[in-house]
Symmetry: C2
Subunit: 441 residues, 2 copies
């Protein structure tokens, strides 16, 4: 019997051929059998790991999160340079210049951007200089064209400048060896510009997660095709969630519809795992007799199905699927339930994969423009329309009905209104908390 | 001499071999020789046309603007259907049901989503029904599983329901022949979902404009390469503007650096026209002796170079280039000037090409957290950092210096503070107007 490591160990059991991953202990249900929204979200986020860092060209790193601190190796500017088109001079030489009594200096050279002067500036002389060009040694001020006659051999200078004026000093923007970004910073267009300015063409970032979106349900028909019978409906979830995942920063693969046939569901998920950092399904996770996702996914990985204390969106499923432990979030099939669940759980998961904090939407306060009733015991996530008054203060009104199928209202909404579990009534004028759906916060 | 058309026309003059387009009359300069920021922006927007409509798959239409009104041809839902897993009944049959004295009904069928019942429901019977499944004729209420014993042959029902309860009515979300979107609407994820739900797989939208970005300047070096001499600098503008254009919705082609050689500039612009809806250059539009863009572009099209009453960003160029009259915006070369000009002129131009209103950034009010001085006569666009207090009110402080080369400060900023031409001093606590750079408004 071989020895493993330093200590004599009991012989390990042969691993099962298709060992399924296990999940950490899920949070305990409350006395009412439900799991709180926050508990469920935190549990999912604990089970999902940030994607490993990846080197990207800086332009492709737009909106991604840095995985390294960035220290500038160069000064910005790299050398003292002119802020104006004009003449480099010694300030003392032109101290008495006026329009009526100009100072006349010989022009002893011309400096373009990217070209240093061949020799230092001697007292009593001027050099023509372009914006951005290196200030010659010996010069301590720039006289802009508009205060000169733009002379070529000699220049007439009509006004003085203080020493240092119109000169951008080496390192005054960014000094060499200064840290300009930290790991975790998200790169916007101006940050991309600064990275280029300090000479970086590539950075380590977390890549865009590959999210596979699947709708399940034998009643679903692909948009653009005719409905064969009066009982069928068009699939909207996979389009809406694919678009929402893309808007959240993911690279999205929308897979065609999958029927309620268990083998078809298993085969589809198995096929998609290879290109997925996250699998997203809708439908088949409720109490119904045909809830196929809930029925078959436990065969493919470690799963957790919970009743979450939220409305809509109560039935929720999660799993780590196959040997790669690919995270899979199984959302309910009602379109509004699916969308609300996306905001509560999937968007935070995508942002954790990307390393983009905060993972969840920022909860902002808003004045209710009319009274809102709520059912205690669950977090209500109602569709709201937020408007701004002249002072920038936010008001919110609910968008239409409470039904979890009302896509028309959802489409008009720009916010989700979060009504806490203990809330029964919000009076008109009271504050509520909302998630602003059109902001990328 | 042949006759053209109905009337005998004078012989047309032979068109010039390379007829250049002309521009509309530019706005008159003010007495100080400058053009106002608003005049310049409006002039550019007048010269630029929205891109023609293009049919797109709905998922690829995310964030794009509709070019057609959308009328739903279907009802949503398409049929009365169950909002719960449970039993379809006649409400009158179960009016007296209690936990202690349940009503017992024979289960005469089972209805899955996508499958209609084979026959109407007779009084005194129940049919098992899944969420989303069609409510059978004759039934007028759904009893959820939790108020039953989930019986298969007979079901014990422990509580009544009002007629209509848990039934989603045909058309209650969207009625057939209702207009759900208007031309000009921008499509977010929830709108994509609604388009799918009413069966549309393609819509007419304005496509993403193809924006070509070119940096000019012989002093520029590509990031990632060594600086050959102390006078060179890394190109940051083309990266920053390419990223900003992409964030604004454009499809971006960043072209390598172009030197100050006139032939190279002309050849590059000529080569790029074929794939550009908008050409963007930085550098070479000031008063300097090497300002090559300003020197050569009038040979290639109708151009307009103006001094705009803004700081930074005073020198601005615009043109309609070549036979295709491709719009070209020529920005100054200082990084901060280039970025500010992008926000003031290029982003509105991109949004006009896309048909996305409002073209310009929304000006929002903000409290100045410290005093700000300004130079009257020009609009100052200062870099600001906006923060929110607990009530959601905005404060802004300036980010660092006034210099138009300070990329470090620009990178930290999240707003541009607009100080009007007449402003000399903003006291701490006074309101200022800002553009919020990280919002996609």
């Amino acid at each position: 019997m071989p020895l493993f490591g330093r200590k004599k160990s009991p012989e390990p059991e042969a691993p099962a051929q298709h060992a399924l991953p296990s999940l950490p202990e899920p949070p305990a249900a409350r006395p009412d059998g439900l799991r709180s929204l926050a508990d469920h979200r935190d549990y999912l986020l604990d089970c999902i790991e940030e994607l490993p860092p990846f080197g990207q060209q800086i332009l492709d790193a737009l909106d991604l999160s840095l995985c390294e601190d960035i220290v500038s190796t160069v000064n910005l500017p790299g050398f003292d340079n002119s802020a104006m088109d004009g003449y480099a001079v010694q300030a003392a030489d032109v101290a008495d210049a006026t329009p009526g009594s100009p100072v006349i200096l010989p022009v002893v050279g011309e400096i373009a951007a990217g070209k240093s002067a061949s020799h230092p500036l001697s007292p009593g002389t001027a050099m023509k200089i372009m914006t951005g060009a290196p200030v010659p040694a010996g010069a301590d001020a720039i006289i802009p064209y508009e205060d000169t006659d733009r002379g070529e051999q000699d220049v007439r200078i009509f006004a003085p400048r203080e020493a240092g004026q119109h000169i951008r000093r080496r390192g005054e923007d960014v000094e060499a060896d200064t840290q300009v970004f930290s790991a975790g910073d998200r790169l916007g267009p101006r940050a991309i510009g600064l990275l280029a300015a300090i000479g970086l063409d590539k950075v380590l970032v977390r890549p865009r997660p590959r999210v596979v979106v699947v709708s399940t349900g034998s009643e679903l028909v692909e948009p653009g095709l005719p409905l064969d019978s009066a009982d069928q409906i068009y699939d909207s979830n996979s389009y809406m969630l694919a678009a929402a995942a893309r808007a959240a920063g993911a690279q999205v693969f929308r897979v065609g519809l999958v029927s309620d046939d268990p083998e078809e569901v298993k085969q589809t998920i198995s096929d998609q795992q290879v290109r997925a950092d996250l699998i997203l399904t809708t439908g088949g996770v409720s109490q119904g007799d045909f809830d196929v996702v809930k029925a078959v996914m436990p065969e493919m990985g470690a799963t957790d199905f919970a009743q979450v204390a939220m409305q809509p969106g109560k039935p929720q499923g999660f799993g780590l699927i196959g040997e790669d432990r690919t995270p899979m979030i199984m959302l309910p099939g009602n379109p509004v339930s699916a969308f609300v669940s996306f905001e509560a759980f999937v968007r935070p998961a995508i942002r954790k994969l990307m390393g983009t904090r905060p993972y969840g939407r920022t909860a902002v306060r808003c004045v209710a423009s009319h009274a809102i009733t709520s059912i205690p015991g669950k977090v209500q996530l109602a569709r709201g329309i937020v408007t701004y008054d002249e002072n920038g203060s936010r008001q919110v009104e609910l968008a239409g009905g409470h039904g979890s199928h009302l896509l028309g209202d959802l489409s008009r909404a720009n916010a989700l209104v979060l009504l806490a579990e203990e809330t029964e009534l919000v009076a008109a004028g009271d504050e509520v908390v909302v998630w602003l759906l059109n902001e990328d916060d």
